[in-house]
Amino acid sequence: MQQYRISAGQLIGMMFWTIMGTAIISLPVLIGLHAPRDAWAAAVLFTLGGIVLSLVVGALANRFPREDFVVYTQKVLGTFMGKLLILAFLVWLFHSMGFVLWQVTNFNNHSLLPDTPIVPIMAILLLPSAYAVHSGIEGIARSSQVVFLPAVIILFFLFVLLIPDVNLENLLPVFEDGAANILRSSITPLAWVGEIMFVVFLAPSINKISKTAKYSVITIALIGFGGFVNELFYTGVFGLLRQHFANPFYSLIRYIKPTAFIERYDILFVTINLLGNFVKLSVFLYIFVLCLSQWLGMKSHRPLVLPSSVALLICTQYFVSSSNELILFLDTVFPLYTIPILYGIPALVLLVAVIRGIKG
């Protein structure tokens, strides 16, 4: 059977929501902690980091076309070192997947279903993703394509409705927060956009593999623009109050002035959030089981989907105990090991491959 090839639109749709899915929940809080007035500047900085990583990812895809990252990492770095680094990535991925699941669950639990225990919510959120992953990359790619455009149009529509409430004076004075705080605020987002390196796992399935870098840069540019607009609106509408929200985006949507034809817009955000995070969880889980199956030398990822999902469901209960704890962790510890893993591993593989002159 011929392997399914991902189109440009599908890849952009997948990676956009893989990064933005939980970024719109947690990143505004983290950025606002350090630079509430100049939060938009953080978007510019993390975009630059993401573009650099996209170029590295593109270079790897061009160097090793139609080869799996797990396989050529071992070829370039040696079996032991390659397996060790992939194992480190797998541990990171499983742990981060727990954060993703917890954040989406917590949002639904806190905002919509306060009396529902989190385990059923987690299971409901995880089950469609597990099914999509079991079906393979085609199911994920096609559903990402379906989700991407309507979700972006809805977001645009919501922002248009908020324009009358934006007070640009709230952004002044520009750079008041100081260079150190702006840089500090962009560290966690920089780690977050590092997820664009997942493209190295998807690259063998991309139909025009030589354009991997271009697609990745487009994705990062869209995310950067989205982040920039988001941050402008948070500060423009809420000023310093943005620092006091558990979920600024949800607060923003709830602040839209009711109109004659729609009174409540919350449901639109909930819809986007669920759809976007379905894509995010699916991509995370797919990369995890694909990578693990290749690491273990298995022929198919499918036998790993159910055990991985169940393990994730159980482990997530222990990964995070509260929202404040997670925010503190994401702000302080998460970037310390995420940046070396997401930026360091592809960069190291590319560097050694170039030095040793290894090509696919």
């Binding site: 409901i124 109050l241 607060s251 709830r254 002035k257």
Partner: protein
């Protein structure tokens, strides 16, 4: 085939679960709160809060089971219900209320938040913090201050709507552009005012007014929005009347219409502006910072009780008189804000946003510096025409 059946079996529970069995609430089990009032306990408990809820009257009599008294409910002849609860913390007051209520307290449809004067004078930051972090409350909720101590205000009958909150909400929604004697302030504006240096909160205030003026339908006293309450940080410091509020809103750039009256030879003339442009700038002279307001008004002569040919020279003279009158009135309002010690006009924030270095110095002691800040107002009132279609009726001379 077996695979498809399994998938189907997996989808069925998915369809059932999202409806939220644990969070299922029937509409008739909800107590739909229209308005929340925060005040100090009147039972003598020191440091106690009193929270009152004005709700749409439950249709099936659930509200009737509440007790009567200081923590009781008061049924009214219309469709609203008011009930209160006391507590040392806001959470305690709400929980105590929930224990008495046969229905789930539902705040997501709340539209108006009111602070009683006693509590507002002590500070509203705790209540605002509680509201901002509340899951159900929206930041779009309008905020009002209740002037004076009038225990009957909450049981006042609305004049034109079914509930007091509904009436106040509609008035605030339609107030913009109708003379701009008040302007809605919501939870977001109030919370930002509490947090932001150089920008104090403001909110419209309400009080009761005599039944002689009230509509026939109203059986007792009615409630009216009288002007603006000003805060210093989170504490209420005073009020602006309707005229002062109009000028306050003009200075903030929130007003586009208003009226100035002048007299010519003992006869009145009324000018209504319908366009206002306000520019605020900082002028530094000899190390002293001045705030300059450039205001351009465009409007019509609405009422003239004397005959005039309205020649160019006459118009010019009237414009000068109107500009001078507006300048004096606006300066009076600025001085009133300074007198109260409230920087609701956002003078400090203006300096902060334009001259950060100067603000860093001033912010250390802003409230003592603020009354000394020089404020200049330059108004250019332009008469674009007259709304009079014909010559005014001027009485013949009687000896």
């Amino acid at each position: 085939m077996a695979g498809r059946v399994l998938v189907l079996l997996a989808i069925i529970p998915l369809l059932l679960l999202p409806s939220g069995c644990w969070d299922r609430r029937e509409t008739e089990d909800l107590l739909l709160v229209d308005s929340i009032v925060f005040g100090k306990s009147n039972t003598g408990g020191i440091g106690q809060y009193r929270i009152s809820f004005i709700t749409a009257k439950p249709s099936s009599g659930g509200g009737g089971q509440m007790g009567i008294g200081s923590e009781g409910g008061a049924a009214q002849d219309v469709t609203q219900w008011e009930a209160s609860s006391n507590g040392f913390t806001l959470e305690e007051a709400i929980i105590k209320f929930s224990l008495r209520s046969p229905r789930h307290l539902y705040l997501a449809h709340n539209r108006i938040i009111m602070f009683e004067e006693d509590l507002a004078k002590e500070g509203i930051s705790q209540a605002v913090d509680f509201l901002v972090r509340s899951r159900d409350i929206r930041l779009r909720n309008y905020v009002l201050v209740i002037k004076g101590h009038d225990p009957d205000l909450l049981t006042s009958s609305p004049e034109f709507e079914d509930t007091l909150a509904g009436e106040l909400f509609s008035i605030l929604e339609t107030s913009i552009g109708e003379g701009d004697y008040y302007y809605p302030s919501d939870l977001n504006i109030i919370a930002q005012g509490i947090l932001t240096n150089g920008q104090d909160p403001w909110a419209p205030f309400i009080e009761t007014f005599s039944s002689a003026q009230a509509s026939v339908r109203s059986t007792n006293q009615s409630v009216i929005i009288r002007g603006m309450a000003l805060f210093k940080a989170d504490r209420l410091v005073g009020y602006l009347d309707a005229e002062e509020t109009q000028r306050f809103l003009l200075l903030k750039g929130l007003s586009n219409s208003g009226i100035y009256d002048i007299e010519r030879n003992g006869r009145k003339l009324s000018y209504r502006y319908e366009q206002a442009k306000v520019k605020r700038r900082l002028v530094i002279e000899d190390g002293r910072i001045n705030v300059h307001f450039d205001i351009k008004l465009k409007g019509l002569l609405e009422e003239i009780h004397f005959y005039s040919d309205l020649s160019e020279a006459e118009i010019d003279s009237l414009e000068k008189s109107l500009s001078a009158k507006a300048e004096a009135a606006l300066l009076e309002t600025v001085n009133r804000c300074k007198e109260l010690g409230s920087d609701a006009l956002g003078i400090g924030r203006l300096i902060h946003s334009r001259k950060l270095e100067i603000w860093k110095e001033l912010s250390k002691n802003w409230y003592s510096i603020y009354p000394e800040i020089g404020i200049d107002i330059d108004v250019k009132a332009q008469i674009t025409g007259t709304s009079l279609g014909s010559k005014p009726i001027v009485p013949k001379t009687s000896e």
